[in-house]
């Protein structure tokens, strides 16, 4: 690999971006890839934007440069759109979980609600592939992050990353019923 594979993760505080980032970085480590990454913590967790950067391969900075994400992984529709504009590389890939947590401007009636087509159009304008994930059978909204990982594996969106690596990473991070539920979700 001559340049790193850049992944930008985003969503809203409370959606489990931290766990998603930890899961993917550990899985990449199990796959033998060099990992550099960085979460945003602190204030942003209170219902604001949360982002995480993950760079696989030869990188030194843990931060993905603007407009250089090979893959954007978003857990929320408006944040998927924002990242498609700001972070997605031309001809990159966007995968998003289509939860919609309205931003303040929409709730105050100052901005129309963001729709699925907005996200598709932004990806298309960059010549990027866009994968929408949505499941109405999740027992708990906090499993949306693993549902999106299942799609990443199904579509092979991270080069070198296979299901076994993610399963090992899940086993690093949790045990018992939570592990079983998430492993089951991964193979559904």
């Amino acid at each position: 690999m001559s340049r790193p594979f850049n992944i930008y993760l985003c969503g809203v505080g409370g959606q489990g971006i931290g766990l998603l980032s930890e899961l993917l970085s550990r899985a990449a480590d199990h796959a033998g890839l060099a990992v550099h990454g960085c979460d945003t913590h602190g204030l942003a967790q209170r219902g604001g934007m949360v982002t995480s950067h993950l760079r696989l391969g030869p990188a030194r900075s843990p931060l993905v440069p603007d407009g250089q994400a090979d893959l954007v992984v978003a857990l929320e529709r408006t944040e998927a759109l924002r990242a498609a504009h700001d972070m997605l590389r031309h001809s990159g890939t966007l995968v998003w979980y289509d939860a919609a947590w309205q931003a303040l401007d929409v709730r105050l009636g100052r901005h129309r609600a963001i729709i699925e087509d907005d996200v598709r159009a932004a990806a298309s304008a960059k010549g990027a592939a866009a994968w929408r994930v949505y499941r109405d059978d999740l027992p708990d909204s906090r499993m949306q992050n693993v549902a999106i990982v299942a799609e990443i594996l199904r579509q092979g969106l991270i080069p070198g990353l296979e299901r076994a690596h993610v399963e090992s990473a899940l086993a690093d991070l949790m045990g018992g019923a939570a592990l079983e539920a998430n492993l089951a979700l991964l193979s559904r």
């Binding site: 990992v35 602190g42 204030l43 209170r46 030194r60 440069p65 939860a99 303040l104 991070l173």
Partner: protein, 638 residues
Amino acid sequence: MKDMGRMLLGRDPFEELVIGNTAIARGMVESGVRVVTSYPGSPTPEIAEAIRSMPAAERPMYFEFSTNEKVATEVAFGAALNGRLSVVFFKSVGLNVAADSFVQLPLHDIPGGMVVILGDDPGANSSQNEQDNRHYARMSYCPLFEPAGASEAYHMFKKAAALAQELRTVVMVRLTTHVCHAKEKVSFDSWVPAPGDAGPRFDPDSTNYIPLAATVFPMKRRALERLATIEARLPALGLDTLIDHGNPDRGIIVAGLPFASVMDVLDERVPGSHSPDVLKLGSVYPLDGAAVRAFLESHAEVKIIEELDPIIEADVKALAYDSGLRCHIIGKQNVDEAMGEYTPGKARAILCATWPDLFPPADTAPPAPALPSRPPQMCPGCGHRSAFYAIKKALAPTDITVADIGCHTLGSLEPYLMGRVLLSMGHSTSTASGLSLYNDSRRVVCFLGDSTFFHAGLPGIINAVYNGHRVLLVIMQNGTTAMTGHQDHPGSGRNFSAETEKISIRAALEGLGVSNIREVDAYQQATLTAMTKAALDEPGFKVIIASHPCMLKFTREARRKPGWAARMVEIRQNGCERIHECVERFACPTFQRADDGTVTTHPDLCIGDGSCRQTCPVGAIVPEGAQGADAKAARSAP
């Protein structure tokens, strides 16, 4: 499942994917640190989480969250006076709180050695400024090392601890937000637990510890001479790195995380171009003068890539002047170079401006459309929201509200606009006191959280009592230090290690002579509005304690209990008159608004606390299941 705590206490060398904060905690174990203190503040609290993950019985050090950064510094200092290697860590602005004691530390002979870990915040990701704490190093004669990533943080911490121990002094390790949280695989060394401590070693008979008048000067001389000793030791410590491409024309001097940005950007050079050499400084204060001089001598031009203030720049230019060097030193060119984090993008822009021939032109991205912004906000069920909503009803538009630091700072944002000025931790009562002077027409209300009450709120309150300021203080009590990750505080009934007797805010206020105190659950909005109206028209200093447990913490804990069932509220669509009080003014994020004005509640967000129900003028917010199946079907699908 990997057990981080056990791993951090492993005796054998190991490799693990960790963030900088966790790597530092392992460094503490290996270095034999015995006492660690802190006050929580981003970006550093994960150091405490790593320490907490170690099984208490096997944890080789004492840890406490102290009431504030100054107290934490003093506890660590006292322990180090007795010979215990000690560490204190806190966020950037925490050093301002600690400064009165901190600046004294290098004057003293500290038998155990002490390390101060700073979490600076270039980019002001979670702070009220982006102050550059390297200034404090020069001011206090305290050496300062600066790592560029997780692995370096671990190694530099160990070197700082060893040096502090050997020279019986204090060393600062300055982390920045994205070094604290940078994740990479770190190779850790073995850990050989040290034999038990000798007894308390404090010896005021052999060394003077009272800087008073003339006795200050031998202490200051020792501190200044120690800096020279440390500078002479720097080459052997191996903190600086030279990346030599044999370029006689161009060099870069850089430190900390910007080094990683610079190295990534240099990979994007025009093919065939000659890369500038790079001198990466690990010790920012003191500089290794000989190494910097040699670098300047061997390059025609040197660009200093330095996040925030021109501190290295000033030192390097002074050194070049004193040595009569003719190297062209390129420092900051404009105000923007002194602002914000040096991300790879920012480093690229600066290097392009310095040497335009070195890089291909950047793609210009089309301007992105304006998207709805998403500022941080109070969580669903937050008691602060109820309190702000209720208090706002009691105020005249001309009344003045003063914010303080904590989750309740978010009340200053739309749509509440409660709290219109903010300085620092605990400032609110005193700033409000000043606003009340020569002011008979605009009433003054200030807010303060419970952890901040203990941290720095007390002196302002005592002053308001003592000097009789006419101010209404509302204490927003949620029982925890919520914003930084739910650390305990003196009023929460636990310290880091054990259950404690809660220190009652009411009793503390009464003890200080505050006679006008009201208490209310923050969900009792009508009561709180009435209380606020009454208190505002009373003379003197008044306090309302508006309490409700942090619902993020409460809900997380409730979910773990057997028999927990999710609940929520919903909007009775045939009763809703689209007044939009819930979504526009109470503004819990669970309320979602369709383009046709329909409001629904969000199943991912609503916790069913019901604090919103009293805000609906037509009673259309009802517990889920309280209405027919038709209306339920209309509930929002994400």
